[in-house]
């Protein structure tokens, strides 16, 4: 390899990275432009909200149920010696509300919702249904992307909020049944450091997760090329990028909102 070829490869790598960022930026821009076409995306929104949100409730509740149980047992295992056991309630509340319910539910929905969206839109792309929409003067962003992103942004907090309640209830029941902690003790720990900020933090974070998961799923689906292989690759990429983005956003919100904050 000559020096000129090396420099060319470096330039291509850099251009591709910038191209990826540019494609993402352009996708967001088209989505925002499509949001202006309310008459197009509004009728589709509840359909996707039901698909992405309501039908995701069982898996979210299932995850929250076992997370709450395991978390209470883990807390009692950790709190030996001087730490009173009513702090199990504190740990369950803080952890479920602020971290585990949003992140675990977000990761589960990234697999279910992100892959679903990417596969659906990828199939539409490779079967030229998206081209057909454009031919019919439909803005594919207004018709396909905006209602899904909006549904995800709205329904993720609902699902996560219910997961919080179920997770804490599961931890409460597990503490009573398995750990011998009285209901009063658990509630004492639960209320000890509870603030409404905990709930707001979790819900806002989950809303950002919903936006990211649906947006990545849409982008990967509409970027699909080729046939079924391209659709599968798009679905896989959607899940992977969604999971990575959830963790990045989790850290982002922690730094932005928690750093330097006193309860």
């Amino acid at each position: 390899m000559t020096a000129a070829q090396g420099i060319t490869s470096l330039g291509r790598w850099g251009r591709e990275r910038v191209e990826g960022m540019g494609r993402s930026g352009r996708f967001i821009g088209y989505t925002l432009v499509g949001a202006r076409d309310v008459s197009t995306w509004w009728p589709q929104t509840t359909l996707h909200a039901r698909e992405l949100g309501v039908r995701s409730l069982p898996i979210a509740m299932y995850i929250a149920l076992f997370t709450g149980i395991v978390l209470s047992l883990l807390a009692s295992y950790s709190f030996t010696g001087a730490v009173p056991l009513y702090f199990v309630g504190t740990l369950v509340e803080k952890t479920i509300t602020m971290e585990l319910a949003p992140v675990l539910t977000g990761l589960a929905l990234a697999g279910r919702v992100g892959a679903n969206i990417a596969a659906e839109l990828g199939t539409m792309r490779v079967t030229e249904q998206v081209d057909a929409l454009e031919t019919l003067a439909y803005d594919p962003y207004a018709y396909l992307v905006v209602p899904r992103v909006l549904s995800g942004t709205i329904m993720f907090p609902v699902v996560v909020g219910l997961a919080m309640v179920v997770g804490i209830l599961a931890g409460w029941m597990a503490s009573i049944a398995l750990l011998g902690i009285s209901s009063e003790e658990f509630l004492k720990g639960l209320r000890l450091f509870f603030t409404t900020f905990d709930v707001r933090y979790g819900l806002v974070k989950s809303a950002s997760f919903g936006t990211a998961v649906t947006w990545i799923g849409c982008m990967q689906g509409l970027s699909a090329r080729g046939g079924a292989q391209g659709v599968g690759q798009a679905a896989t990429s959607a899940v992977v990028y969604s999971a990575v983005m959830i963790l990045i956003l989790d850290a982002f919100w922690a730094v932005v909102w928690l750093l330097g904050r006193t309860p």
């Binding site: 009728p43 509840t46 359909l47 909200a49 039901r50 949100g53 309501v54 409730l57 001087a82 730490v83 009173p84 702090f87 509340e93 709205i154 329904m155 609902v158 699902v159 909020g161 219910l162 919080m164 309640v165 804490i168 639960l190 209320r191 000890l192 509870f194 603030t195 409404t196 709930v199 819900l203 309860p263």
Partner: protein
């Protein structure tokens, strides 16, 4: 289908929101539609207290901190909502303190008399007492401050330890080792002594036990004697013994009286004897000095020689008489 989707999504959102809001309010123990008694307290510093911190009266949760705001002259006003049925103590003050080691705070409403005599608390309460409806308050030191004080104390102890280390040189260590060794020997001796004393005590205990047993036996004998005396009393033996004792005493008194007479006679005899001895002594002196016939007879050897000569002549005469009685004796009957 579209209407069904709308309904399901709307219902889910409503139920989710209702559950989240209700759960939040329940955990926050929010009271809607119930009158609360509002009490305000003034503090210099509220420490780790925050909105929602429980308010406790006589150990029972009676409300919570509703709001806090900075007041004039570097005071903090804390507004507390209390159960309307909770009665405030007379001359109430509010103490902010940590309720556990884990950063939990609480506001305790108590009588001023129950505060104690901590000078810092008394000063804070004095500073925040301004009359009116605002209760005076004080903040107890939190664990961090106590830990800081403990840290300073630990530093002082370390400093002292360092000085001790300086003073505790090799010689001191040797002396200390020697002292420890001596102490060990001393303790061994002491242990041995204690052991011996213990044995002695054991022996003494045994002796005492034996003595006690003897006493018991003596007591039993005494009891038997007493019983015997008691039984003898009925047969008149005691009376006879008493009478005999009285007779013996009377005889003793008589004997004593006689002895007194004899003693007086002896005294008189002693006087006579002394007079006799004095006379004898005087006579002896006279004899020794050769006065009188007896003195001359004793002190003059002439008498002795004459007497000896006479006796010798008498002896010769007697021998002659025995040899020739007719020369001297002439017996005639008629």
């Amino acid at each position: 289908m579209k209407r069904a989707n709308d309904f399901v999504v709307g219902l889910t959102m409503l139920i989710g929101a209702a559950i989240i809001v209700a759960a939040t309010l329940w955990v926050k123990q929010a009271d809607f539609g119930r009158d609360q008694a509002i009490v305000t307290a003034r503090f210099r510093d509220v420490g780790g207290v925050r909105i929602g911190t429980p308010v406790v009266i006589r150990g029972v949760r009676a409300g919570k901190i509703e709001a806090m705001e900075l007041s004039d002259s570097a005071f903090v006003l804390a507004r507390m909502s209390l159960d309307p049925e909770a009665d405030l103590p007379v001359d109430a003050v509010v103490l902010l303190n940590e309720s556990s080691l884990f950063g939990e705070w609480q506001a305790t409403i108590m009588s001023r008399d129950a505060v104690g005599r901590d000078p810092d608390v008394v000063r804070q309460i004095s500073e925040t007492s301004r009359g009116g409806d605002v209760l005076p308050g004080a903040t107890l030191p939190d664990i961090a401050r106590l830990t800081a004080v403990a840290g300073r104390i630990a530093g002082d102890v370390a400093s002292v330890a360092e000085r001790v280390q300086v003073a505790f040189d090799e010689q001191a260590a040797r002396d200390l080792r020697l002292s420890v060794r001596n102490f060990s020997e001393l303790s061994t001796i002491l242990a041995q002594t204690v052991r011996e004393q213990s044995n002695n005590m054991t022996t003494m205990s045994a002796d005492v036990r034996g003595g006690v047993q003897s006493l018991v036996r003596s007591a039993e004998l005494l009891r038997a004697v007493a019983e015997r005396v008691d039984s003898s009393t009925t047969r008149g033996e005691v009376r006879r013994i008493v009478d005999d004792a009285a007779e013996a005493a009377r005889q003793l008194r008589e004997t004593s009286r006689r002895l007194v007479g004899i003693s007086e006679q002896l005294g008189r005899s002693q006087g006579k004897l002394e007079s006799f001895l004095a006379t004898s002594d005087s006579i002896a002196q006279k004899i020794n000095s050769g006065n009188g016939s007896l003195g001359l007879m004793i002190n003059d050897p002439t008498l002795y020689r004459n007497a000896d000569s006479v006796l010798r002549q008498l002896s010769v005469l007697l021998a002659d008489v025995q040899k020739n009685p007719r020369r001297y004796i002439s017996l005639r009957i008629f």
